[in-house]
Symmetry: C2
Subunit: 222 residues, 2 copies
DNA sequence: TTTTATAATAATGTCGACAATTTGTCAGGG
DNA sequence: CCCTGACAAATTGTCGACATTATTATAAAA
C-alpha cells in the first residue's frame, strides 16, 4: 500500500490539501500500527527520508506528529523509537479508557439524536468489523462522538486510539472475546436507546473492564 | 524573562540538553499561557524567527510542540493560531478533568506512600500557591502523580494542563473561590490519608464540579 | 457599484548542506 | 582482562534558500 492510498482510505485528512509531511505521517502511522515497523525499533531519519524520497525536514515533521499521538518517543540528540508499552502501561490505558468512555456513554445517552442512534445501530449490525481499525467504523468512537464533547473526542482519537490499534494488531485482536463483546455492545446500545445515561456508563465501564481482564489473562499466560 | 530563564524555572526539561527548538517552545508556551501572545492571534513564523534569532526550522519545530499540547491550532498552508476556546469548550475540559482526576484520586488513595502523602500535605500548607502556575507545586498534579498511572499523568500534563493555566490567567484565577477550594483540598487530603478511594474520588469530582460551576457563573455574568 | 479575473505579495512547505552531539571503535594504561 | 580516553563515523539539530500555496491589491467587465 503506497503513500497516497492510506491517506484517501483514512478520511482524517482531505486528499487535496495534504502536505508531504502529512502523507509521510499517515504512512508511518499505518506502518507502525500494523507492526510493519516493529515496536521498540529505531526511526532512522536518513534511512526513511531515502525510502520515501522526501527531505529530512518533512520526515522530521512527520516524526513530530507521531510523537504527538504517542506512537514514538523522542530523545533529544538521540532520535525516535517506536513505543513499546509494558504490560502495566497497556493496562493503564484501559483504566483511562474506562473513565473516559464511561463518561462518553453517559453523555451520549443524553446528547445523541435519534438518527445518530440509528447510524450507531447500523454500525453495530456488521460488527464483524470489516474495517477493524478504521476509526470511522468503530462502535466505541461512535459513542465518543455522540458525547458531543470535542475535547474528549480529541483525547481518545489523537492520544489513545492509534496506540490501541497498534496493540490490537499485536495481540491478535482479542479474537476469543468477539461474540461476548458484541453482546455487551448491544446492551450499551439499548441503554442509549432508553436514554439511560447511568446504565450506559455502567455497562461501558464493565465492557472495557472485561476487555482489560481478558488482555490481562492473555498476557499472564505468555 | 528571557528564553533560558523559563527553561530552568520549568524543570520539565534539563538545562543542559535543551535544543533551540525546545527553548523556543518553552518561551512561547510561557508567553501564551500568560496571555502575552493573545488567544486567537496568529503565529507568524518569519516574525517570531526574527524575534528569537533562530531559523524557521527551529521555530516550526517549536510550533509543532505547541500544537501537540493544544496551545495552537495549525491549518495546512495557512499557519498556526493561538487557541481561543469557547465557553463550551472550556466547560468540556472541566468535564474531562472531573472524570480523569476523580479516577486519579481513587487510585492515589491506594497507591501513594505515606511519605508522598506527607509531601502532598506540605504542598497543601502553603496553598497561597506562591508559584500558582508551576505544575510541580500543584495539589491536583500531586494527586495525579500519586495515582501512579503514567498515561493519566501524561494526558493531564501534556494535553490539558497548559490550556488550563492559560485560562486561569485569563479569567483571573477564580480568586473568589480560593478559600473554599482550600477547604475542599483539605477534605480530599483527609480521604487520601484514610485510604478511602471511593470518598476521595467523590470529593475530587465535586471539587472540580464546583470549580466548573463557579467559572460557568462568571462566564454568564459577562 | 458590484463582481470577477488577474497579478503582486507574503506566508507556509520543502529541500540540501553545515554544525553539534552522540555512539561506536580502538589503542593505551592500570 | 577490564577500564579509560581519544578518535572516527554516523545521526540529530540548525540554517538559509527555493518552491508552492494562500492572501491581498488591482483592474477590467457586467
Amino acid at each position: 500500500m503506497g503513500l497516497v492510498d492510506y491517506c484517501v482510505d483514512n478520511n482524517r485528512f482531505g486528499y487535496g490539501a495534504m502536505s508531504i509531511a502529512e502523507k509521510v505521517f499517515a504512512a508511518l502511522c499505518n506502518a507502525i500500527v500494523r507492526g510493519e515497523i516493529p515496536a521498540g525499533s529505531k526511526i532512522s531519519e536518513p534511512e526513511l527520508a531515502g525510502h520515501f524520497n522526501v527531505s529530512r525536514a518533512s520526515l522530521r515533521d512527520a516524526i513530530g506528529r507521531l510523537e504527538a499521538c504517542n506512537l514514538v518517543i523522542r530523545r533529544p540528540n538521540v532520535g525516535a523509537r517506536v513505543v513499546s508499552l509494558s504490560d502495566e502501561e497497556l493496562l493503564e490505558i484501559y483504566a483511562v479508557r474506562e473513565a473516559l468512555e464511561g463518561m462518553a456513554a453517559r453523555q451520549a445517552a443524553v446528547q445523541m439524536s435519534d438518527t445518530e442512534l440509528d447510524e450507531l445501530q447500523l454500525l453495530l449490525a456488521d460488527d464483524k468489523q470489516r474495517h477493524p481499525n478504521d476509526i470511522n467504523n468503530d462502535f466505541h468512537y461512535g459513542i465518543v462522538k455522540g458525547s458531543k464533547n470535542n475535547r474528549l473526542k480529541h483525547i481518545l482519537r489523537d492520544d489513545l486510539y492509534h496506540l490501541m490499534c497498534m496493540y490490537r494488531y499485536q495481540l491478535g485482536r482479542e479474537g476469543g472475546r468477539a461474540s461476548s463483546a458484541a453482546k455487551e455492545h448491544a446492551l450499551i446500545m439499548d441503554a442509549l436507546r432508553d436514554r439511560d445515561g447511568e446504565l450506559a456508563e455502567l455497562l461501558m465501564r464493565r465492557h472495557i473492564r472485561l476487555s482489560r481482564q481478558y488482555i490481562e489473562k492473555s498476557l499472564n499466560s505468555l
